[in-house]
């Protein structure tokens, strides 16, 4: 039987992602990883796309991973894991292995939304039995905060700097969770580390479903978001409560909102503590801020409708 998802029971388990990694102080990604790994008792094999998580969790002979782990290039975390999973199936068929092993790929938003998208899409279409977990911090943070297709509208990054010419990024982020759902795979979900139990339950549930699964998790980055080191959890909670990052799952085409905020607060509350949105609060950018709010409202209404009609 799986370990119950209570903090008391989970804290008795051995760390599968250990201390001594070199992610920045207050980074959201290791919180996502540790929760995802403690959510299951199965032996797991990880493939990790290049990104912050990869470069700072395994440096030379020091690895923070207490599970088999493969470093892949930026674009092929899903392709590498497809190969590993296929080999595993073959070994099982030949009777050379009898363990139940689960497969997880981790990638940042750069390695998932952009560079690794083709291999992810391919692996999902081929139906490999694996979970792909994207930790989305909304830009290429590892190389110095360049915009990605996950960067939200109006955010200031080094490749779309807010100033007198443009007010930050001019395009909205793409909705990857919905794109993955359009692959018609058995399980797609969106989660946040602030709602640890929801995240753990989604990972646990995904492991029990056969076929390709995708979970998109928000992971605040205080360096890129220009916020304080202590607010990763507070910001991801605000992202949920403003409906900027709604928590839902789509299981076999049926949409379900797993956490509905008690009170939907304005998205400005989520943006205010972040320096990357500072310029949006200037009078000349009022329109852009309104546009961001309208977009969040529209997406939330759409999601609610989908959850209802299903």
């Amino acid at each position: 039987m799986a370990t119950p998802l209570t903090l008391k029971e989970l804290s008795k388990k051995e760390d599968r992602f250990t201390h001594g990694h070199r992610m920045c102080s207050g980074c959201g990604a290791p919180i996502v990883v540790k929760i995802a790994l403690m959510a299951t008792d199965y032996p797991v094999v990880i493939s990790n796309a290049t990104g912050c998580l990869e470069v700072s969790s395994c440096i030379s002979e020091f690895t923070a991973w207490n599970v088999p782990w493969i470093h892949t290039a930026f674009e092929n975390a899903a392709a590498t894991l497809s190969g590993v999973e296929t080999m595993y199936r073959s070994l099982r068929k030949q009777g050379k292995m009898d363990k139940d092993v689960k497969f997880i790929a981790f990638g940042g938003d750069g390695g998932t939304y952009d560079i690794g998208f083709q291999s992810l899409s391919g692996a999902m279409e081929r139906g490999h039995d694996m979970i792909y977990i994207c930790y989305d911090n909304g830009a290429y943070m590892n190389t110095g905060i360049q915009r990605s297709s996950a960067t939200p509208l109006g955010a200031d990054t080094t490749t779309c700097p807010a100033g007198s010419v443009i007010p930050g990024k001019l395009r909205s982020r793409k909705n990857l969770t919905k794109i993955m759902a359009a692959h018609d795979i058995p399980y797609v979900a969106q989660a946040s580390p602030s709602h640890w139990q929801d995240l753990a339950r989604k990972v646990q549930k995904a492991h029990e479903i056969k076929g390709p699964k995708f979970i998109n998790v928000i992971a605040p980055c205080n360096r890129g978001w220009r916020s304080k080191t202590n607010d990763a959890i507070a910001l991801s909670r605000l992202a949920v409560n403003t409906c900027y990052w709604p928590l839902y799952e789509i299981e076999n085409g049926v949409t379900k909102i797993t956490v509905t905020p008690k009170e939907k607060i304005p998205v400005a509350e989520f943006m205010k503590p972040q320096g990357r949105f500072k310029h949006l609060f200037a009078p000349e950018n009022e329109d852009l801020l309104r546009q961001v709010q309208e977009e969040v409202d529209r997406e939330w209404a759409k999601l609610q409708k989908e959850a209802k009609t299903d």
Partner: protein, 97 residues
């Protein structure tokens, strides 16, 4: 600790030992130190689950002391701590004071 040269590493730089990062201590990154005030602690374990550096020790499902060898002093634990009757069980103190 002296880093190994390329001749000492296994081919392909494969790491044969899991979780070897524990040999690398990150506690020196810290500028602020979290201090645990046990009498205000309600053992909710939120600090433990939200710690990005696995720097909070637990024993038999209960919170124990901070692991200052690894704590980077981000302060997430202190912010998330609900405390008891409005009194936080974790406070941040400046290092070296």
């Amino acid at each position: 600790m002296k880093a190994k040269g390329w001749r000492d590493l296994p081919p392909g730089s494969v790491v044969l030992e899991g979780g070897s990062a524990v040999k690398f201590k990150t506690g020196s990154w810290r500028a602020f130190r979290p201090v645990w005030i046990e009498e205000n602690c309600i053992q909710c374990l939120f600090c433990w689950i939200y710690c990005p550096d696995m720097a909070i020790k637990t024993k038999d499902g209960k919170r124990a002391e901070f692991d200052y060898d690894y704590c980077k002093g981000c302060g997430i634990c202190a912010l998330e701590c609900p405390g008891k009757k409005g009194k936080k069980a974790i406070e941040m103190a400046e290092e070296g004071k």
